[in-house]
């Protein structure tokens, strides 16, 4: 594995830490902006049949306004838990999470969330789904707000359809519109495109970047897809599992504006190699029930009848 990385660096002459002047300047300007989210020494410990488990331990990072942060890590590293704690759906057991300097104690409309599963209300039309937040918070003209945001995600024609009549990608667009109509300070996205097919996912990623470019919102995006993280993020928070701890916070050296053509750029490859090294340092031990499965292949066809 290590060899591959040095090869990547050798071939392109670029490591993931090398930033061009433009990228350096961009990170400098991001650091000038105010801090929206600050996570200090955050920990989550829960009791399981195997005893106390640290889902998260000593998490420290801060997010600046309109920054795009991806959180990546192997399964079980607590990346979803982190998003849920910031959303206020789960409680942390140590440290603190501050939004605009105020500690997070429960869910609130200043943090929007898009879930992996379809979380649209099936009994409401698309428009009423988007109107849900404004109506709950008794704010402004809910309907015109909703239509505005539906237009932004390109679904104004489907305003009166029910969620079950939409495709997976369209449903997630509605979910994004529904979260953004509340004008949250930060948009939390918990593997929102995980259930989509590759083509739709690529489309949604570009669309999300477009939205983020045009709207004053900060994004914290959970994923397990390396390409997705690099393509979207300003910085990538890499977590490791058991216990969930920050391994590294990577500043993505791929310049903006991003396009799918950059997937093959040297910066992209170097970053991906580094992520791969962090996340799969050794082959994961196989679960026991998988180990018990040992196929014993018998030849059922004629010896001469070969397919390869």
């Amino acid at each position: 594995m290590n060899q591959e990385i040095t090869q990547a660096i050798n071939r392109d002459g670029i490591g993931y830490l090398d930033q061009s002047e433009a990228v350096k300047a961009r990170f400098e300007s991001i650091r000038q902006r105010e801090v929206i989210l600050e996570v200090r020494d955050l920990g989550k410990r829960f009791r399981s049949p195997q005893g106390e488990v640290d889902a998260l331990r000593g998490i420290n990072f801060s997010v600046h306004r309109r920054e795009f942060i991806c959180v990546i890590g192997p399964s079980g590293c607590g990346k979803s838990t982190l998003a849920r704690i910031i959303a206020g759906l789960d409680h942390h057991t140590s440290g603190e999470a501050l939004l605009d300097g105020k500690p997070i104690t429960g869910p609130g409309q200043d943090r929007g969330m898009v879930f992996q599963g379809y979380s649209l209300f099936p009994w409401l039309t698309v428009k009423k789904n988007v109107m849900f937040g404004p109506l709950m918070n008794r704010r402004g003209d809910a309907e015109s707000d909703a239509l505005l945001w539906l237009e932004l995600v390109g679904l104004e024609k489907f305003a009166d359809a029910y969620p079950h009549q939409l495709s997976g990608g369209m449903r997630q667009r509605v979910a994004i519109a529904r979260a953004l109509v509340n004008q949250p300070r930060i948009l939390l996205m918990d593997e929102p495109f995980g259930a989509l097919d590759a083509q739709t996912r690529a489309k949604m990623q570009s669309h999300l970047i477009d939205i983020w470019r045009n709207v004053d919102v900060t994004v914290l995006f959970i994923t397990h897809d390396l390409d997705e993280a690099i393509y979207l993020a300003d910085r990538i928070l890499v977590l490791k599992a058991h216990p969930g701890e920050v391994q590294e916070i990577i500043e993505v050296p791929v310049p903006r504006p991003r396009s799918p053509a950059q997937f093959d750029s040297p910066e992209f490859r170097a970053t991906k190699a580094r992520l791969a090294e962090l996340i799969h340092p050794e082959p994961e031990p196989m679960p026991e029930d998988e180990q018990a499965v040992k196929p014993h292949l018998i030849r059922f066809t004629n010896v001469a009848d070969n397919v390869e």
Binding site: P107, M113, F115, Y118, W123, M136, Y162, A179, L188
Partner: protein
């Protein structure tokens, strides 16, 4: 070929489905017709048409086949006039056309006793008992079930006892209900409430728990809290399933009706049935029992259709 018969449920088109549904009613009817109209199938009795030399035989009397043959042999031996008869079924199994006729006359002919209620009056009384019982049960059971399903504390506090109580047979409370509520409609409604309520709370709590947790979490991140979580998310979220549960529970309420109406002074359709049975009008008994079935089944069909109108987003209904 055979595999066609086991084809998935989905590829049953509407026409075929209707045909099979009608068939499911025609099959038992066919069996009933065969038993009633084909003389050599079953027919364990002989209906006497000519008494002959048997002194106790009368026209229209039903006697066992063996007894009839014995008497025939005896009269032949004694050189008396031979009795004659036709194969018949016992009085408790009337033929379909007799039941159909009784069905018709039940609504058109005044009852034999002067002050006795008509069939439709008895029925209407029974329907009122059911509706009141179901309404009272639902007023308590639906909110309690939803709360028990939404809030773990309410569920933990109420469900163990309810789980225990639902095993107590409702009719066992009959005597108690009469002592508390008198002999008229009160105890009957109480039995239906007792029979329905406890199942209702458990079923609805379960339905509520099956609601996608993500929906509640999504609503919370959108700023919903407190009571609006229940009224704006949980309730609309479970409504189609709640409606289905209520349909099933209404069916259960009907099954408690007959027992309930026997408590205190017998009333309603139960009184009608027992009266008719006392006079051995079994055709009318069958007709009255079938009316209960028709009303119950008919209501459910109407409610099912109404449900499709009310909940256009409910995808579970597409599959039926």
């Amino acid at each position: 070929m055979i595999s066609n018969w086991f084809g998935g449920r989905m590829d049953f088109d509407a026409r075929k489905r209707t045909l099979f549904a009608i068939g499911s009613f025609l099959l038992p009817l066919l069996v009933w017709c065969l038993v009633s109209y084909v003389p050599f199938i079953w027919h364990p009795k002989i209906e006497v048409t000519v008494p002959g030399g048997v002194d106790y035989f009368q026209v229209g009397m039903l006697v066992d086949k063996a007894q009839f043959e014995e008497e025939t042999a005896y009269t032949r031996e004694q050189k008396l006039a031979l009795p004659a008869g036709i194969p018949a079924n016992p009085i408790y199994l009337p033929a379909p056309h007799e039941v159909a006729q009784a069905f018709y006359t039940g609504f058109t002919k005044a009852p034999e006793q002067k002050d006795a209620p008509w069939l439709h009056e008895s029925l209407w009384h029974s329907i009122q008992i059911i509706l009141w019982g179901f309404l009272i049960s639902s007023l308590i059971g639906v909110p309690l079930g939803i709360l028990a399903g939404t809030y773990a504390s309410v569920g933990r506090l109420s469900e163990p006892f309810i789980e225990f109580f639902r095993y107590l047979p409702a009719p066992a409370f009959g005597a108690l209900a009469v002592a508390v509520l008198g002999i008229y409609d009160g105890p009957k409604i109480a039995i239906i409430v007792i029979g329905t309520l406890f199942q209702q709370v458990l079923i609805i709590a379960n339905t509520t728990r099956k609601l996608e947790a993500t929906l509640i979490e999504a609503a919370r991140t959108l700023g919903t809290r407190g009571a609006s979580l229940v009224t704006k998310v949980v309730l609309p979220g479970i409504l189609p399933d709640l409606y289905r549960d209520q349909r099933i529970l209404l069916g259960w309420a009907w099954t408690y009706l007959i027992v309930a109406e026997l408590i205190g002074t017998s009333s309603g359709i139960t009184w009608y049935i027992t009266q008719q049975a006392r006079y051995q009008h079994f055709d009318t008994v069958y007709a009255a029992i079938m009316i209960i079935g028709i009303i119950g089944f008919g209501t459910d069909l109407i409610l099912a259709r109404l449900g499709r109108r009310l909940f256009p987003w409910d995808r579970a209904q597409d599959r039926r």
